[in-house]
Symmetry: C2
Subunit: 193 residues, 2 copies
């Protein structure tokens, strides 16, 4: 999505984007989702509807764009001093946030867009958080499973259950994390650096 | 969703539903998704728009309802004579169908509805297929992992990757299935019946 790439911070394009995103978020706090249309957003943001149509194409793409921005992690995963515990703390928070009402709405907005790049970016945000935990574990000389395996064994079941059934409870998240941590083979233990 | 429960087959209500579902599917083959509105569907189905609004509420609920019907499995999983092979054959087909363009559109329609009951039903269809494979394995006296574990270890990663990244390749699906099959503990092997 061109709207998110290569924006010069503070440039006109970035200012329009910030103002439209802000308008969407403000409207969401006081209107039903179904009432938020591009003309309504344009009025709130002080831009013309055609500015929005030109940049985002349709309301789904705009809502997905706003949701991706909101899903961007705003903090590093908690550092407990141990990879397995970091992963558990992160997974508990992820399950909690994503299964909340705003969390579910953001995922729905991201997945509703025809353009799949928003979903891809969300997956990358998640992956980067796990890579951070894995990197810290490695720096401490601990073994840690492959990030792709953590995506399959921890992230995927949490997200599947939130989307298609009921959010996993704390005991379930704990089981998923211990299952993933058992993947560590003794050979993968690094030397402390 | 009341529209899918307790319909007397052949009754007036069931006939209206079949005609509206048929209209949506016919329109989808010749129109862009964005052009399909409730008035257009009503004309195609030969019912009034208010009939559709009354029963489904909005277009998203109707599209989700149609998608759930189409996602209902129309065959039993292939019987290879061995649980692990049945699961692999099923998982390969599932990954292929769900990552196809119509598969992705159906999932998107199901998840876009505010009412989560469609997503829940899809999850149940999948679960029933795995239960069938598990039941056959048990009848042959084979061990088979817990159905919930298969959902976490095989179904969830396939669906997560389709929704948020790239569909898993055949080698990945094979790895997921063998991982799940390794969960079998010797104690869970039943006696042939």
């Amino acid at each position: 999505m061109a709207s998110r790439e290569g924006l010069r911070p503070g440039g006109r394009s970035a200012r329009v984007q910030a103002s439209v995103h802000g308008a969407v978020q403000a409207l969401m706090t006081r209107m039903e989702r179904g009432e938020i249309t591009i003309p309504v957003i344009a009025t709130e943001a002080g831009v013309t509807p055609s500015t929005i149509y030109r940049r985002w194409g349709d309301i789904q793409e705009l809502l997905a764009d706003v949701a991706v921005e909101r899903l961007k992690p705003d903090m590093e995963p908690v550092d407990t001093g141990e990879g397995g515990k970091d992963l558990l703390a992160w997974a508990e928070q992820y399950a909690e946030e994503m299964s909340s009402t705003p969390g579910r709405e953001m995922i729905r907005d991201v997945l509703a867009a025809q353009d799949g790049s928003g979903a891809y970016q969300c997956c990358n945000f998640t992956k980067q958080q796990i890579e951070l935990i894995a990197g810290r574990a490695k720096d401490r000389g601990e073994a840690f499973p492959d990030v792709d395996d953590v995506m399959d064994r921890v992230v995927s079941p949490i997200m599947y259950r939130i989307l298609f059934g009921e959010a996993p409870d704390a005991a379930h998240v704990t089981r998923l994390v211990s299952g993933a941590m058992q993947l560590i083979s003794p050979a993968s233990v690094g030397e402390p650096t």
